[in-house]
């Protein structure tokens, strides 16, 4: 068990370092074991250094930078051990257009192994979906499907 945990940690750490660089276009990040050196009880800390900047506490990162760092951790988990289905509810909300584009590019790569159902308001996200559904709250108080015109959306 301990060997398997060590392999997983090595793989997760390498994936996180790589995904972070892809999503931020640079910089560096790491997953660091805390507390005891015993993997069965150690904690996992996230360190992030943005491109061109010094290492700082995560709390100092902006809202969008924190969201993207969390997404990098999630993507690293999916790279280490993919799940069949992943449902994402507006996780791109805090990202600006440039960060959202890098996020979607990486998501498309992961989508070869995982089915993603994504709730979004973003036009560039809608454009990359194979299936796109629009909802509305009907006047009668019930949800209903509506057809979507992409030029109007967003």
């Amino acid at each position: 068990v301990l060997n398997r945990l060590e392999d997983t940690y090595a793989k997760l750490r390498a994936n996180f370092q790589e995904v972070f660089k892809r999503l931020f276009g640079g910089g560096q990040a790491d997953l660091v074991l805390t507390g005891t050196k015993d993997l069965l009880t150690a904690g996992v800390d996230i360190w992030a250094q943005l491109p061109g900047k010094k290492m700082q506490p995560l709390s100092l990162l902006s809202g969008g930078e924190r969201a993207l760092t969390a997404i990098a951790f999630l993507f690293a988990l999916l790279r280490s051990k993919s799940t069949y289905l992943c449902v994402l509810d507006e996780i791109d909300a805090a990202l600006d257009e440039a960060n959202a584009a890098r996020f979607l590019n990486y998501l498309e790569e992961l989508a070869q192994d995982t089915q993603f159902i994504m709730i979004t308001h973003r036009k560039q996200a809608m454009l990359r979906a194979r299936s796109l559904y629009g909802l509305a709250m009907g006047a009668s108080g019930a949800s209903r499907l509506v057809s979507i015109r992409l030029e109007e959306a967003v």
């Binding site: 398997r4 945990l5 997983t8 940690y9 997760l12 805390t34 507390g35 150690a42 904690g43 996992v44 996230i46 969201a67 969390a70 951790f73 999630l74 988990l77 999916l78 280490s80 051990k81 993919s82 799940t83 069949y84 289905l85 992943c86 449902v87 994402l88 509810d89 507006e90 996780i91 805090a94 998501l107 498309e108 989508a111 070869q112 089915q115 993603f116 159902i117 994504m118 709730i119 979004t120 308001h121 996200a125 990359r128 979906a129 194979r130 299936s131 796109l132 559904y133 909802l135 509305a136 709250m137 009907g138 009668s140 108080g141 019930a142 949800s143 209903r144 499907l145 979507i148 959306a153």
Partner: protein, 165 residues
């Protein structure tokens, strides 16, 4: 293994039957505030066996059954059906298509079906244990919750490491 079809009726805001067909890859759901997008996420989790009403943003069982509006009467039954394509055997049953149905009646009773055959909640939960779609996994990221992983204690974050093993 992927989710092919989602059918919802009577669950939360879905007074009318809603059917969505999905393919592998990326699917997107869009719409204004309150249109039911997050309710769809709740429906999928519930049908997979989620038992915590709090995780579904509710307080009582009746919160997940259509409660009525100015123009519609309340429903007595909430039903969600998930149809999975299983050609790769990702689900440990010998069917190329796996259909899960969960029902909840306002009276408090529940029904669970696996390919049309009544089963227990536990049977559905166990079916998905190795797929990463269970309760502890990283398969569902709720609205406004993507940053949560940064705020966990290091020991809590370690749980993800164990799941990825």
């Amino acid at each position: 293994m992927y989710l092919e079809r989602l059918t919802i009726q009577g669950f939360k805001s879905f007074a009318e039957r809603l059917e969505l067909v999905f393919e592998p890859g990326i699917s997107a759901i869009v719409g204004p505030n309150g249109s039911g997008k997050s309710n769809i996420v709740d429906a999928i989790r519930w049908a997979l066996g989620e038992q915590s009403l709090h995780a579904l943003r509710g307080e009582r069982l009746e919160d997940i059954i259509f409660s009525g509006s100015d123009h519609r009467r309340a429903h007595g039954l909430a039903e969600v059906t998930l149809t999975f394509a299983n050609a790769d055997g990702g689900l440990p049953v010998p069917y190329s298509e796996v259909v899960i149905t969960r029902r909840a009646y306002r009276s408090g009773s529940s029904e669970f079906l696996l390919n049309g055959v009544p089963c227990r909640l536990r049977d559905i939960q166990e079916l998905f244990w190795d797929t990463g779609l269970g309760r502890e996994g990283y398969s569902f990221i709720g609205q406004g919750r993507v940053e949560e992983v940064l705020n966990l204690k290091p020991e809590e974050r370690r749980v993800f490491l164990e799941q990825a093993a």
